[in-house]
């Protein structure tokens, strides 16, 4: 490097040199200048002048006039850059006498010679190629993060954190909604179940569905046709008082609106004419129903007094199959919402 500095020196301080010397030296320095850039390369041009010395001096001597005049005015550092650009063209012409750059290139490229210079340059270029390939590869393969600077990375990380937080919040929100919906659908299912159950219970009471269970069977035979509607009504009342839940008389379901009326040769229940023997299918607790009918002065005794015969038998499985269609009330409206 010190060598290069020495050589470069005359180029930078031209006025102090003798005029004749100056032209020669400076034209050399100037022609070498482009490589003597202010950076690390600076030494190159100066040092390089050592090796191809013969060629250089020859060149410099050959056209000192053509270059010297323009170079003298260009000598200050400031104009170095301008020189660089302007100086390009004259050079090939100046070197044309010895060898052109093209010839040098061809000579360097084709017959491959193994010299120290070539090997060293090859090594450095190998390193360059390696670095280039590594960099290109890492840039292309790992998106933009690999080459990113620290502050950029920090910013990206922050953004990601924010985003994660937002998404986490959203997730919690959605999970809450899901739980809520699940609960509510569970509740709805439960409510539906209860409603169905209630509908069945009410259906039993209203006579719209069949019923079965333990109960009794009351059979009233009336050969003398002495039994009238009020007696059957008494029997029904008695049964209800004893807790009967579903009652059917000769395939007519007895419900809240059931009425009894007399008719010749029998009784009308809800307008259906029925005749003896009157068969009551009653679902309820047999231990309550049976005594209720048999008590002294009760239904059975009263019927017997009228020459009718009543027999009560308990059963574990009474089936009440007769149904009533539901009539929609015309006037009564539910007062509860």
């Amino acid at each position: 490097m010190s060598d290069g500095d020495d050589k470069k020196h005359p180029g930078e301080l031209p006025p102090e040199e003798p005029a004749a010397e100056e032209n020669r030296e400076e034209s050399r320095a100037q022609s070498e200048y482009p490589d003597a850039a202010p950076k690390p390369e600076a030494g190159k041009a100066g040092e390089a002048s050592d090796t191809p010395d013969t060629g250089k001096t020859q060149k410099a001597e050959e056209n000192p006039d053509a270059r010297g005049s323009s170079d003298a005015s260009d000598s200050p550092e400031k104009q170095g850059q301008a020189d660089r650009q302007e100086e390009g063209p004259p050079e090939p012409s100046g070197e044309s006498s010895s060898r052109t750059g093209r010839q040098r290139l061809a000579q360097a490229v084709w017959p491959p010679r193994v010299t120290r210079a070539q090997l060293i340059v090859a090594l450095l270029l190998f390193v360059l190629g390696l670095g280039l390939a590594i960099q290109v590869r890492s840039t292309s393969e790992n998106s933009s993060l690999r080459g990113a600077r620290q502050e950029d990375l920090v910013r990206i990380l922050d953004e990601l954190d924010d985003r994660t937080k937002r998404l986490e919040d959203e997730k919690q929100n959605l999970e809450g909604q899901r739980t809520e919906l699940e609960n509510s659908s569970d509740q709805a299912e439960e409510a539906r179940k209860q409603t169905r159950q209630k509908a069945r219970q009410l259906g039993v009471l209203a006579g719209t569905v069949g019923a079965q269970g333990p109960g009794i069977e009351l059979t009233v035979t009336d050969p003398g046709k002495a039994v009238e509607a009020d007696m059957l009504l008494d029997a029904v009342q008695e049964l209800r008082a004893a807790g009967a839940e579903a009652i059917e008389i000769n395939n007519v379901r007895v419900v809240a609106s059931t009425y009894f009326s007399d008719s010749p040769g029998g009784v009308r229940v809800d307008g259906h004419k029925i005749s003896q023997p009157y068969r009551f299918q009653v679902i309820g607790k047999p231990q309550d129903l049976e005594p209720a009918l048999n008590i002294p002065g009760g239904v059975v005794q009263t019927l017997r007094k009228e020459q009718a015969d009543a027999s009560v038998s308990a059963s574990k499985e009474i089936v009440v199959n007769a149904l009533r269609s539901v009539k929609r009330p015309d006037y009564a409206r539910s007062s509860s919402r």
Partner: protein, 110 residues
């Protein structure tokens, strides 16, 4: 010729071997590569000028790389790493362009 072979071999080796770059060096690699490119263009120009010298080339290559990495390192320490590396790339880019222009004049005479 051998130099060109060296470059090709380097690129191929880098692509095939996939060496892992140490994290410490990683931020400086791109700048170092650009600086080395600058040195190579300077060397090529010097060769065309007939003033090429291997010693100078080696020194300029290495010092280019080291200085470029140093500037970026310093910039990182000072908190202006991004700007400074941009500046280095710009400067080196200008140098590469001017060298390329000289090379072009040699090769194409235009």
């Amino acid at each position: 010729m051998i130099a060109v072979l060296g470059l090709i071999v380097g690129v191929v080796a880098g692509l095939v071997v996939r060496p892992v770059v140490p994290t410490l060096v990683e931020p400086y690699l791109p700048i170092a590569v650009v600086a080395a490119l600058d040195a190579v263009f300077g060397g090529l120009r010097a060769m065309l000028d007939g003033i090429f010298d291997d010693k100078v080339f080696v020194v300029s290559f290495l010092s280019n790389v080291v200085v470029a990495a140093l500037i970026v390192f310093l910039g990182d320490k000072l908190g202006v790493g991004a700007q400074l590396s941009t500046g280095v790339v710009v400067v080196l880019g200008i140098r590469i362009f001017s060298n390329a222009a000289a090379i072009r004049r040699h090769v194409f005479r235009a």
